[in-house]
Symmetry: C5
Subunit: 98 residues, 5 copies
């Protein structure tokens, strides 16, 4: 799985009917320090993520295991809101608790 | 999923019978600002996309979920025409409404 | 899907029995202008392609949808001989009609 | 499959219910000499791996074959703790036996 | 599929039970001239390959089609020992017949 930062969203009126009702988030895949590895992925979401959140992405058929995305033509889904990242027993990322 | 810009098409007479009747579009995968990330992908389409359109691509088995592509030997399909891309609450792309 | 140019072939006597009778072509994945993007892929073929031909590749489970490759341990198959590539309404590639 | 070094972990309270109880490890994919090839992958684990361990990763649907990960929305799982890596009949990596 | 050169092996005592009895080979993915494209992949094997052999790799679910690897959590398997590679009708690789 990948770590990604939510940076925006993508919308469209003409689409596969199985995408209706799916919020499509724009994310950058990042490393543990937040540096961008792969920009501009579009994902479905099962966690209520918003701009600025760090999320965990499941790709391929794993993106369609959750009931929220089952049957939708998606290949990448946020399956967790990241609260903390720890590297070598040091906390390197912590979500705002505000 | 990926954002892609439609730049052309590919045709051939000798092909798998399950591709007959599928329009095969040539696209470049782009980032949210339109810069090319991966050129020259060929896709099937469920949205009636044409040259200049921005589309959302589903890859792998997700490309064959729509009834239009089910059973076809495709690994990448346009599942939405992109109308708007928003980054950090700023509109960065808007399809021509002409 | 990807565009690829057939450059050769690969053979071997000791192999999975489900590959017996499959011609294994060596291809380079190319962009719409023919420049190499990823060299030296090996593919199964459903189109009778030969050296010099441009083909369309289906990857992953899409490579095993055709009856010719169903059940074979392949992850990449030529599903169309490319006759023409059009970019921005200009013909950029045309197969020899000889 | 890939070789990876465990460098940390990722946690979150809001997630797909099928990830509850799964420890999510942060790893770097490395080559046989330990140099990083792809940083910051997040994986599920079937081996009880911890920081500093070298593990073998299975990706895609292979990540969900083990009973520990079956049904979870994961695309990458540690399926072995690496004890030894041998290159050209020379031992190049050996896990601490402490 | 990919061409790869076997360079070593990887072992471990703690692993998924479905990997018991599988020899895990270390390979570099190479191009048709033998230059390394992607180092340090770990594969299962259906061909009895050893160090120095050139093999053909099937990835993803194709890696689990052979009865030897069916049910194992592997995503990459050697499905052929490469005897000859031909580029533009010139023999560019031939396995030692010793």
């Amino acid at each position: 799985m990948k770590i990604a930062r939510v940076i925006g969203s993508v919308t469209g009126a003409i689409k596969d009917g199985r995408l209706v009702g799916q919020k499509l988030l724009l994310v950058d895949i990042v490393d543990a320090s937040g540096a961008v590895l792969n920009p501009s992925q579009v994902i479905t979401d099962t966690c209520g993520a918003g701009v600025g959140d760090m999320v965990l992405l499941a790709s391929g058929s794993a993106a369609r295991i959750s009931p929220e995305t089952s049957g939708a033509p998606t290949d990448e889904t946020a399956v967790m809101l990241v609260d903390e990242i720890t590297v070598n027993n040091q906390l390197t990322y912590q979500a705002n608790s505000g």
